[in-house]
């Protein structure tokens, strides 16, 4: 378990990076995980084809909050193409903790919000709803 709640995760949970909202975001999207009530919103400002700035807010467990915090660090300043290609596997690797199927939803909520926001999708590809 000390594996699970590693210092790294707890640090991102207690001191989330890029926490807050943006004034005039080009993209803003919010979703919740209906199973547990976790909620994440991500705001993006784009500059040409890069993510100029990013913020997130919401409430959630250590895993979903840390994942959002880590994700914003990864994509800040990155080319849009790179952000669009950012995969589930990369997200899980960045978290670096083994997630049970139920907690997987927590670990991937932020990425889902980011992708659905970017593509203006209703649902995430491959997710049955």
């Amino acid at each position: 378990m000390d594996d699970f709640y590693r210092e790294f995760i707890l640090d991102h949970y207690k001191r989330p990076r890029n926490f807050g909202t943006l004034e005039n975001p080009d993209v803003t999207h919010e979703e919740d995980n209906p199973l547990c009530g976790d909620r994440i919103r991500i705001d993006l400002c784009l500059n040409e084809d890069r993510v100029a700035d990013v913020r997130f807010t919401g409430e959630g467990c250590a895993i979903s909050t840390a994942a959002a915090s880590i994700l914003t660090e990864k994509i800040k300043g990155a080319p849009l193409e790179r952000v669009k290609a950012f995969s589930m596997e990369e997200m899980l690797e960045a978290l670096g903790v083994p997630l049970s199927p139920i907690r997987l939803k927590c670990g991937l909520l932020a990425l889902k919000v980011l992708k659905t926001g970017l593509y203006g999708l209703k649902h995430w590809p491959g997710e049955e709803e």
Binding site: F4, Y5, L10, G37, R39, I63, T65
Partner: protein
């Protein structure tokens, strides 16, 4: 006299004085010998589903292994035995809840289906545009959504009785909601998220005065208290077998015979008819009118065994023992500074919902799981209630009569671990 050892002995003596031997009861439940993460299982998720005593497992096994058959149709030996056991279970349920007649006991999938049956059958027959249905702020989604669907279909309106900060129904507010437009009241007997035992007796009495029928969601009441539908004078009472030590997939709708008789069928098919022709179909009598198709025979027979088992232990003894657990757990948890207990009603079953400062309920759940403690973390299918208390989710420890004070100590230690980790 003040050593921890002797305190425990004193506790045990007190429990025995109540005529209840928890060590013996635990032996009836094979799952309690399981280990989780290498630690003894501490099962505190009884409100989600209860564990099954060996006798229930054996009874279901015996049916499937030695007289599995369809009921109400075969003329052969096995079918006669199966039918007999199935109908015996109905009589057991009847006595268990003190229904006047066994035909008032309808077997359904669970509480959810029982409520949907009433909403679809009674509801569509009696409820019109502008009519009102009264529920409370602490209902499970299964006692909200069927009524919302009905309201959408008919143009009726849902009214919600508010609750206090302690998690108690506000009866004076409820009285004001009862008007000439009220057609039905549907309330939870015991809250699955707060543990509150609601004054359903009073709620029914007030509705009765206005001639309004009442449905009671008894999913969380039946495992903890003696339920007497005759004394309550409720019109419908719903519960699930799996929460009262029986199998999943089987539940009960009790309804007053005169109401059930006047209601149209809920589903059509085999068993619910007397005769079928393409011109006219004659529906069967109660209870079969509401039991279309082959039922969950193994489940019904298993539920009968569960009821026998509970009767053997005795609900009075269960209630007394569990009250001791509740007091012990409430005191131990209240002593933790960063904890907030959600649901502090005067009358409660052995269930405690809580939030920890700075630790999300999910994380509490995961950390506890590592110590073998199974609790529920989430909104408990009561999202409007979570909103009422301004929390997205709670952690919930729900105890049964096979739980112990020692297990509560394990829970408390694990909570301290969570606080330390997140501190």
């Amino acid at each position: 006299m003040t050593t921890p050892g002797s305190t425990t002995t004193a506790k045990v003596r007190k429990d025995l004085a109540a005529g209840f031997d928890v060590a013996k009861a635990r032996q009836d439940f094979p799952i309690l010998r399981e280990k989780v993460q290498g630690k003894p299982l501490v099962y505190f998720d009884n409100a989600a589903t209860s564990q099954k005593p060996q006798v229930v497992i054996d009874t279901v096994h015996e049916f499937l292994a030695t007289y599995n058959s369809n009921i109400h149709r075969g003329v052969h030996q096995l079918s006669e035995r199966g039918t007999e056991a199935y109908e015996q279970s109905r009589k057991k349920v009847q006595r268990f809840i003190n229904a006047a007649e066994s035909r008032e006991v309808i077997f359904v999938r669970g509480t959810t289906e029982a409520i949907n049956l009433v909403a679809n059958s009674y509801g569509r027959q009696h409820i019109r545009a502008g009519d009102e249905i009264v529920i409370s702020a602490m209902e499970h989604h299964s006692n909200i959504v069927p009524w919302q669907i009905l309201c959408e279909q008919t143009g009726a309106v849902l009214r919600v009785m508010p609750i206090s900060d302690a998690g108690e129904m506000l009866i004076d507010k409820y009285e004001k909601l009862l008007t000439s437009r009220t057609r039905l009241v549907a309330v939870v007997h015991v809250s699955n998220a707060l543990g509150t035992i609601n004054p359903v007796h009073e709620i029914i009495r007030l509705a009765r005065r206005q001639g309004v029928p009442v449905l009671v969601d008894g999913a969380q009441a039946v495992p903890h208290l003696k339920v007497d539908v005759h004394e309550l004078d409720c019109d419908f009472y719903a519960f699930s077998g799996h929460k009262v030590f029986g199998p999943t997939g089987i539940g009960v709708l009790y309804g007053k015979a005169e109401l059930l008789e006047a209601m149209p069928p809920y589903q059509g098919g085999g068993d619910m008819i007397k005769s079928v022709s393409f011109e006219k179909t004659v529906y069967n009598d109660l209870p079969y009118k509401f039991e279309a198709g082959t039922p969950h025979i193994a489940g019904v027979i298993g539920l009968g065994a569960a009821i026998d088992y509970v009767n053997g232990v005795g609900l009075d003894r269960i209630a007394t023992y569990e009250h001791g657990l509740l007091e012990y757990a409430t005191e131990a948890l209240s002593a933790i500074p960063s904890i907030r207990i959600i649901g502090t009603a005067e009358e409660k079953v052995s269930l405690i919902s809580f939030v920890l400062d700075g630790v999300h309920a999910h994380d509490v759940g995961t950390i506890l799981d590592h110590d073998g403690v199974a609790i529920r973390a989430g909104h408990h299918c009561t999202m409007p209630l979570m909103q009422r208390f301004g929390v997205p989710a709670t952690a919930r420890a729900s105890l049964a009569f096979y739980n112990t004070k020692e297990e509560i100590d394990v829970l408390v230690r694990a909570i301290h671990k969570a606080i330390e980790m997140f501190g």
